[in-house]
Amino acid sequence: MLKILKYSFFDLMRSRWAYIYTAFFLLLTVSLLWLSGDIAKVVASLMNVILVLAPLIATMFGVMYYYNSREFTELLLSQPIRRRHIFFGQYLGLALSLSLSLLLGVGLPFVVYGVWGSAEVWDFMMLLVVGVFLSFIFSALSFFIALRNENRIKGFGLAILVWLFFAVIYDGLFLLALSLFSDYPLENFAIGASLFNPIDLSRVLILLKLDISALMGYTGAVIQKFLGTALGMAVSMAALSVWVLLPAWGIQHVAKHKDF
């Protein structure tokens, strides 16, 4: 598995897309830091971008990478190696290269700017952790989808739909449910519902750092009480890990029974 991972990672890190992705984050972060100079504000702006873009790019790259390396995968399948190892290797290579692009693009300007020692260093770390998680989660989901759909158009469409669902539609339904049942106490529902969407969960984790003042009022206090504690943090991290493991398990399950 590590062998496949190594070569996939090299292949991807040298691709034009990896450069573009890294350069985009570099440019964005540098210009935000330069324009506003307020780290808290930059973290807030970056959060909006990362929460949307990291899953979207991971989704698209996941599908693209799978379909593009379809023929090479066949060659690998003819080699004396377990199937599982091929797909996990490719998936991890992809997720790692995406994460590295993000870490370099966002992290480098911050380190140069001197985030260490500033009050926002933890907000910033949380941003990176969440970005890496989202890259892992959505590349696994899209890999899984591509693996299940031989038809590229269908696979691509489905993967984008999944992204759209988690990025927008889920929250729309969530809000609808909240306003329909607003006569009932909904705090626990709200916490539960955000655990079931990795993007929401990531967002709430950053909100706990950025918008603590607003969250301390009303329901926020309940959320803060649950997710803001060490236990809550552990639960959130566990939930995010489950979001990585679930599609990863799906990948190995589908790969095991699939004809190439």
Binding site: Y7, D11, R14, N68, E71, F72, L75, S78, R83, D259
Partner: protein, 253 residues
């Protein structure tokens, strides 16, 4: 060496192989022929463990290959389409395969020379022409000394010189006593190279035997015309098939 017993495989409702029984026990070059969609590639992929049969079994050197992967150490494979990771260099690709197989390739240097690939070793695979990629593909397929070589449309995209080199290679490997399975559409290639022919049609084996016996059976002097006769349903093999099918339908009713 390879025994296939009553192999069934369908994709969805579409049967691709319906009860294929075959064995390749003597060394030599076997050409697997058949029109598009006849199940040639599926047959090969089943042997390689890439397609998983619905029914039947495949024995490699007497052992069932289901769920196994070690046996592939003894097979070299030339895929039909030579596409590799765009951003790896030729040398890295070969190193990767060496890494995976955990075995030093015996013939790599000689093959690189044979196909004139030295100038391309440090080039990225994405920047190579289709023909050069196919040469790389040939190098990776022939660089190990495995007893079985499976080739999917080996002549695809090769220039005449490379084609001659390939034929030479195939002869050489045959002389070493290896088993070579090749699918192809090029009848000249078959006539020139193959010892035996397997003809697949609609998932059934319509013929297996030497080139001469095929021609004799259909009273034809050229392979092409014999094949054409099979496809036109003369002199009765496939008619026979139709009758079988009619009977089967009748029984089901």
């Amino acid at each position: 060496m390879i025994t296939i017993d009553n192999l069934h495989k369908s994709f969805g409702r579409q049967p691709v192989l319906s009860g294929v029984t075959l064995s390749f026990d003597r060394p030599g070059i076997y050409a697997i022929l058949g029109p598009n969609g006849s199940g040639k590639t599926t047959l090969i992929k089943s042997i390689l463990g890439m397609a998983i049969p619905d029914k039947g079994q495949i024995l490699f050197q007497g052992k069932d290959i289901r769920g196994q992967w070690h046996y592939r150490r003894q097979i070299d494979y030339l895929p039909q389409i030579a596409r590799f990771p765009d951003n790896l260099r030729v040398s890295e690709l070969l190193a990767m395969i060496e890494d995976i197989r955990e075995e030093k390739p015996q013939a790599m240097g000689r093959l690189i020379e044979l196909f004139g690939l030295q100038p391309y070793l440090d080039k990225r695979l994405g920047n190579l022409s289709g023909g050069t990629r196919q040469k790389v593909n040939l190098v990776q397929a022939f660089m190990y000394d495995s007893p079985v070589i499976i080739l999917d449309e080996p002549t695809n995209g090769l220039d005449p010189v490379a084609l001659i080199r390939l034929k030479g290679l195939l002869h050489e490997e045959k002389e070493k006593g290896k088993l070579l399975l090749a699918t192809t559409h090029i009848m000249n290639f078959v006539e020139e190279m193959a010892d035996e022919v397997v003809f697949l049609l609609e998932g059934h084996i319509h013929f297996k035997g030497s080139l001469d016996s095929l021609k004799r059976q259909y009273n034809e002097t050229s392979l092409e015309r014999a094949i054409a006769r099979i496809l036109q349903g003369e002199p009765g093999f496939s008619a026979n098939g139709h009758i079988k099918q009619a009977v089967r339908l009748a029984v089901r009713r």
